[in-house]
Amino acid sequence: MARVGVFVCFCGANIADYVDVPMVVEETKKIREVKFAIEYKYMCSDPGQQLIREAIVQHRLTSIVVAACSPRMHEKTFRKALSDAGMNPYLLEVANIREHSSWVHQKDKKAATEKAADLVRMAVAKSIANEQLFEISVPVTKRALVIGGGIAGIQAALDIADARIPVVLVEKSPSIGGKMAQLDETFPTLDCSQCILTPKMVDVASHPYIELIPYSEVIELEGFVGNYKARIKKKASYVNFATCTGCGACWQKCPVKVPNEYNMGIDKRKAIYTPFPQAVPNKPVIDAAYCTMLLKGKCGICAKVCQVGAIDFKMQEEIIEREIGAVVVATGYDLWDPKPYEEYGVGRFKDIITSLEFERMVSANGPTNGLPVRPSDGKIPKNVVFIKCIGSRDEAKGIEYCSKICCMYTTKHTILLHHKVHDSHAYVFYMDIRAAGKGYEEFVKKAQVDTAATYLRGRVSKIYKKEDKLIVRGEDSQIGQVVEVVADLVVLATAVIPPKDNPELARMLGISYDKYGYLSEAHPKLRPVETAKAGIFLAGCTQAPKDIPDTVAQASACAAKVCGLFAGDTMKKDPMISTVNTEFCSGCQNCVQVCPYGAIVTEEVPMGHGSKEMRTVARINEGVCQGCGSCVAVCRSMAISLAGFTDHQIINEIVSI
């Protein structure tokens, strides 16, 4: 038989003025299971809590009901009081007679009192079905995995490592740096991208708490929060990084020329290469798709010229494993291929380039010595048309969303063009100018004045060729007329899209992604860096298009989350999660279907005691379950129960009114 103690709070006058508290206590005492009931001025005060502690011992109470303010306010306080008295804290129920009664029925004391008594009775009924629950503690491996070595991954890794937590940073290309390393100057301050990025890259390489694994990919992640195991594939670089000094003799002598990805294919690199001069690590790799030694067994010049014998043509890819507790995904973005814009002649007209190509051209270390040129004849363009929203905000050809950064970088490009070619003129076709950010609007305004660029609000419908010029036909919606601009060079501001292997990555990590392929955050407003899977966080453009300041902020936020997760030796978790009674489970797996966290897996159990025949049942991973109860409601067999909100407890509440 349950022995319930009830403690009704006056809350000063807050409750007592509108609810007849002694009357509630009297009513409560009539309940068979209630062995002790008392009112007190402030239950949450020390003496109030002392009252509870004493009553527990004196009356051998098996559960406690505190009728006071909202459980969202003081549930934790009272649970602690129970703990202090040696009672399981989850045997507490709070009847909310302040927010739900005294404050909202101030004109009718009788009704408010009746309601308060009912609420207490419901809480008593529920508490009878309460069970002892124990905080779940999950051991934590204090090491973080960062996937992606762009600015997001670099920032997250540095921030986590600065908290003296070991970080494994995995980058799939030979060098960290990402897209930011390809940029010339950055808006809105026009400071040089390399100048602010490379020190951070060097920090990563030299940080004692960061293990940098370049030219590698994460291929498998198993386990759950605090206890993941990652398998990492190290691609064969054919260069022994341990002995290589980075002298560069190999790539200077290599005879094979390959389009240079770093410069958007505008110039050539060698088959053995470091992606760019400031690469970290500054060690070359051999591109197996082009190296004639690897393809045909001929050449080997690099091995001959290498003083330290670092070239190893027999190198194989290698799988390594790391135990980690949390993952930061920072796989960045890709740029949309404008090929579907056939009416622009993309692919047919050489003098239509993308913004990143333009960025590389005007970059001081770029392939054209910092000058924009027409790819068709190498001449310096005078009239340059910039077209924004190529693929962005275009449901028919591209994607529906706004890529967020194009307005700003196009503005930057008009400035760079103006700086490099003084007698040039820029035309910008735009849909809207979206310059929301610190200093952004000012930047755009200033650029428009300084460069005297012509801004045309409207879409371009066609580009065709007339002699060696491109005729850009579009609408100037502000004058409501079709305009044609004669251009030497057309620059397309192509949309930001998620990396194409994001869905595969998401499936591998067990997190969700949206219809475009961006990885999904747990809550769009309040949990923007967490994923639905505990212990996996998102930084940068892999979640949505972002500029550099936002990316860095999100990366640091990830670091804070990781540090929070690793604050103790074990993670404490609320025990109010679901469990499966395998005896009743029919194995229909509806719960697996509806669980938003993928916390439910299946396992085989014997059909009966000692039986060899097996049947499939559901099992809930307590590390992952968040306790929403979706699975409970779809379980027709009632094999699942949610601790703290069991069917028994809720039905008790319903029938006790």
């Binding site: 029919s586 194995g587 229909c588 509806n590 279907q593 067999s637 009632m638 069917d647 039905i651």
Partner: protein
Amino acid sequence: MDYTKQIREIATKLFTEEKIDVFVGYRTTGFDENQVPVIITGLEEIPKLIFNDKSVFNLTNYLKQEHTRNKRVGLIVKGCDSRSLNLLLTENQVKREKLFVIGIACEGVCDDEGNKMQHCTECMFPDAVVFDEMVGTTHDARLYQVNADVRELASKSLVERREYFETVFESCIRCNACRHSCPLCYCAKCVIDQETSTLYHGANTTSSAFHALMTWSLHLAGRCVDCRNCESACPMNLPLHLLHKQNESVIYENFQEHMAGVVEGDRGAFYKYSMKDPDDFIM
């Protein structure tokens, strides 16, 4: 519709080629035209098998029984039965590789008086959707129509409906035959028998019948395939299909979902959602 010959041929073939251990089919009751399910285990019993428009029962109910579990089973399914089979497959209750399914392109089954059953005239999927071998000529696509009984009752006033169902729940004797005959009721222990619910709903009362039938029909919402095993099993002749068909019409009209069990892997409307679901009934 008489496929007795074809069924016997296929069953013979299956037993001779040792593809199955048991075959679930129909046989006559022996004293009237009506039929009962039969589970046969060998060639010698094949002459018992019969299939015609009196083959009413949904045989997939037998897949949850002891004598078919873990055996290779040959089975006859009509359109509706095949949909319940699809659901059983989706819900991991049976293994496809253990089944040999004879699909029937069903012309509709008849009641005791020999009239075509009313629900067969409304049937949207007369042809089996899961089968290894198909018997009969398949049908053109058919349109969804709201069950005539549901439509009729729905057009009545609230009070009339309430009075009607009061008599229904009053008549229920809580024998649970509906549940036992339903191929989709396979829970180890039904919720209406579990302690938490028996504690409060009382015994054999109208109230408990209300509770039990409502809970049951909501557990079948989006899953019921309208085979009417429950109605044929009900000793009180309760119009149980009304509850199921009402749920089906709400689901079909509001959620743009497939009919229950038509698509393999589809668990029914309650186990998925759409952002476009109706929201206007919520304040």
